[in-house]
Amino acid sequence: MNENPVLVIKDLRKSYIPGKPVLRGIDFSVYPGEIIGYIGANGAGKSTTIKLILGLLPIDEGEISLFGELLDPNQGDFKRRIGYVPEGGELYENLSPAEYFDFLGTLYELSPETTERRAKALMEIFDINGNYHNRIASFSKGMKQKILIISSMLHNPDILILDEPLNGMDANSVMIFKEVLSTLAKKGKTIFYSSHIMEVVEKISDRIILLSDGKVVADGSFEQLSEQNHEASLEGLFNDLTGFTDHQELAERFVRILEEEA
């Protein structure tokens, strides 16, 4: 890695309630062309990190640098190079994709023609063309998710921050999307991928960062990590590193309760 990192996080700390830190000193650097699988149990601090990178929350301690510059939340310009899909991200469903993309395009300083050309072509690839002027409210969950994904890429960003981006999408579109991500990475774009679905993260990412209790507990490629910890799957690895071992016993108890007499 001789290139300059696109994202550097140094000793990042954050707490919403004083004395109860969510992030307890996080360090990592991300380089162009990397697909990072950012994982952790519920409440481990994944979303908080993402919000801090986008400048949505004030930083308590530590620093974040994007594209070689210290992050300034008061300045919006850096967002021009970021694409973001939030978990369960909602849309103004009373608008049509045409109108929603038009709004985004204006703010990304794309011409209406460029916006329309790109949006229509991308929708065609995802097999939802013909809905360009329908209200988003009438779309299925998967269709909405596709609109979210297109929204995050319309301006050809350098970093993609994706939080559970596959929510509700059909298998074919998922395959296209994964392919798109690896192609983008080859072209030097950075992808920051957060999800609870370990199978996908394992396949898609070339580096995994595991967060537990507000700290980075593992950082490396899947191969490296599985060798170190003698685990064949990311799921096992995840359970190991978050200190969770009694799932079998709990499952058995669950079933036993159902079998008790009514």
Binding site: E90, Y92, N94, L95, S96, D102, T106, L107, H133
Partner: protein, 546 residues
Amino acid sequence: MNNRFVDRLDFLASPMEKMGCDWNKVKAVLNLQLTLDARRKSTGNKKKGKKEHGIFQTMALMYGISGVFTALIVSSIPDSYVRVSLGFFFIFLMAALIMITDYSAIILDKQGQFILQTKPIDQKSLHMAKLLHIFVYMGFMTLVLGLPLLLLEGYHDGIQGVLACLLAYIGMDLITVVFTAFLYAGLLRVFSGEKLRDMIQYLQVGVTIIMMLSYQVFNQGIELRGATAHLSPAWWHLLLPSQWYASWMTTESGTLPILLKVTGFILPIGMILLYLKVLAPRFDSMLSRLDDNKEKLDSKKLEKSMNRQRLIAKVFTRNAEESAGFLMGYRLLKRERKIQLIVIPQLALGIIFPILIMMPILMRGTSLEQLQAMPLYYALYMTGFMILPLGIYGMKSEYFHAAWIFNALPIQSPNQMKRGLMKSFFVRYQLPVFIVPTLVFIGIYGLNALDEIASIFFLLCFFVRLNHRGFGSKFPFSEDIAAIQDNRSKLLRMVFLNMATITVIGLLHAAVNLILHASWIFLLFSLSIAVYAWETDRFLKKEQRA
């Protein structure tokens, strides 16, 4: 609203079982729905130490106040028959309004239906629970609404008045609920998907406007003629449910009053039976048409209209961010149904208000010359009271959760975008409402008063901008439209503030004209502050400007 209340309905158990419903399950669902209703809270900013009420309580309070006003308005009428005729008519209208605005959601609810349908409960019981839910609610609200009138009647006419009221409320509730269901069934047959939702929306807005206007007109009418009014039962009263029940209070005899009384019994019972036999078994499957979106859209036409909107945005805005806000607002506002439901009736009232003010004068048979001698166009300021603060609804949305997008976008100045939105709100809603009465007055007064009327017009435009001080949020469409409670108290504060400021300005305006005869200077002044206010953020609060 707790278990005990539902347990009191146990007397319905045997007729329900006879109809094939599982009463225990009906009760369970009803219980759940009522609990949910009572807990549905305003989701706005929670202030510490402020007692929180559910939306239900807020609504009950509102209808209670309307009920008191209704009773007060009709209390000046000495004739019992006229009094209950008008009182029942108001309550009937209000009940229709409550049904159509508040409880359409229950009739048309598919989400809850969907969840419950996966549980072992039959369609019939489920539908019955839904129906009972609506009746319990309507019954309660009508009681709150009608109690003042009931007490008034009790005072005037004793037990007969009280019984007439009770009968009227029950009958009118039944008719409203069943009639609405039939009406929706009719709409469901003709329309589908978003179009259907739009039609329901028009219906709601229509009923609300009729309601507000008749309130105003009747109020004026009673003030003018109330003391001497007399009414006899007429054949057309058969078409008006409120008259069926009012007929209990008439002193006249003959077949017509008897016919009216009988209709008041037979029709509601007939309608509910018809509903249960014919409509209820089909209604829920008809609801699936709500999600049926097979509209064929003409994309060429839509693209043209998008381009036209871009042109409008160019006229009214200065930079990309402002124009993005403008276009978003322009397109969203015509589809945000809840915003429209609140805003459009207010706008209608704003248009009609100055004309209403002139009504008593016109009814006295004033000639055009006499009219022209009076500066009635000052009533234009009245329009302002209602219309000015409405822009705050542009900050709200049914889909306020989607506001995350603003944080992900490279926005340099949120204020630019907000101003763009406010401009679109102004252009779409407020401007037309200012223009209509303004034109009416220009029509009446001709060019003589043009300078004055124009001054008022520009001042109103200035005040619209000044009202943006009250809008807290950073981004448009980022607050929950369902937070009714917050909306109303804030709006009320703003209305009063407007009244105070506008009164001062109006007096100043009159003084400048009368003393200095300087109406053209005033026009120039109002035009320039209007333009200036819209081009700067100076009139916003400091923290909003940051």
